[in-house]
Amino acid sequence: MNPVEQLVRAPVAAVEFANLLLTRDDAKIGVSPKDVVWTHRKATLYRYRSTRRTHALPVLLVFALINRPEIFDLRPGNSFVEFLLEEGYDVFLLDWGEPGDEDADMGIDNYVCDELPWAMRETLRASGQDELSLLGWCIGGTLVAMHAALNPGGPARNLVLLTTPVDTSGSLYANWVGRDSFDPEFVAEVLPSVPGAGVDWANKMMKPVTNFWTTYRTLWQNVLKGEAKREAYQSMARWVADNPPFPGRAFSQWITWMYKENRFVRNGVRLRGRRVDLGKIDQNMLVVTAGADHIAPRPGTLPLLDLVSSEDVTHLDRPGGHIGLMAGSRAREDIWPDIAEWLEERSAR
């Protein structure tokens, strides 16, 4: 497109660009039909409707505390949930909900020792099975690993951990919040529910130019060329901008245990008096890392492979970022089939 053509098209492109940004929140995400199975406080367990369940073991999806779990079911045609349903899995989703100030007392122990096992119990009741597969992503993976370490021989037969932070030493987060001058308890005291927008801002500051400028500049160029993918952009942008608050106590524990003291990888986390010993994880385990992940960098996940006592451990490493790996346009070809295949071999009754 020559400069004159660009100039002629610019006003139309400007209107379209503005429209893309302004109507972002109208994008439909997480639309696969599902039913509520169980609720407790803000947590909700969903079961996705399906008429083609062929694998015995249900799959329970667990996402992080700082973003919404709709990323598992981003939009029709680009939904991991949809893919799993097509592959014949009975899919459940644990949604942590939107904690408010009244949930400031929710800590990591509540999530690992109450909400997760209760959701697992309800998953088993609803599916009529006595075992399941747990799939955790980001912090959700860490919570799943903590639960598995506390409950060896429990109902979780398979663990799938996607871009999961384990060892945070040397990470950029550790540099920011691990220092003495950053006091997470003061944060939790002032903000009983730490605003998700603050956490999101910090995440974006890791790559400031890319996140605050290049994204929009690229979008503008695509609009100008008439190549902007409205649904793809808006669904992802809406998901990125939707950040639930982090309950104060859980925030303080997460920062202290993971970034200040790096306890998890050293088996130093104690939940309700019980030590979270990664060596006690004995389930079949699939660990997925992303080569360009700057939020949970690959070197921070790999120690897990040596620490667990599982006999069946698989590691998949793929190019991509923390979220793009599983929700990007290439995920359907690059990673979802591998996960489904791994699960299939381990999901018979």
Binding site: R41, L172, R179, V209
Partner: protein, 124 residues
């Protein structure tokens, strides 16, 4: 004859190169200790100001005899605790139901065995 380079393309390439360099430089900048320290201190200052603002707002609202954020939170917390207890009671009920079902199943199977044994003894 070689093609003349497109000046628009040159400008675009130069711009993208500059943007890439700026992005790399900024990523290096945020990795520095000084940036981390600045971020920590700035966060502390913002939080301290937020706390002062919250305290003043809460004082005003409470003196107007209106429910403030703390009151609403306190109410929400009571509800959450009630829900915790309800969940525990539900789990206990479910556990008891399962126990009763197990007991009924085992007594039913014992009854069947007894009836069979009675029958066999009668036929003798």
């Amino acid at each position: 004859m070689s093609e003349r380079p497109d000046p628009t393309e040159d400008v675009r390439r130069l711009y993208e190169d500059a943007e890439k360099r700026t992005a790399d430089a900024m990523e290096e900048l945020v990795k520095r200790d000084a940036f981390g320290e600045l971020l920590a201190r700035a966060t502390e200052n913002i939080l301290a100001l937020t706390r002062m603002g919250n305290d003043v707002a809460d004082l005003v609202v409470r003196n107007l005899r209106l429910a403030g954020r703390r009151d609403v939170t306190s109410l929400g917390r009571q509800l959450a605790r009630t829900e915790d207890k309800l969940e525990q009671v539900l789990q206990e009920v479910e556990r008891l139901q399962e126990q009763i079902a197990d007991a009924e199943r085992s007594s039913a199977s014992n009854g069947t065995t007894r009836r069979r044994s009675t029958k066999s003894s009668a036929s003798k």
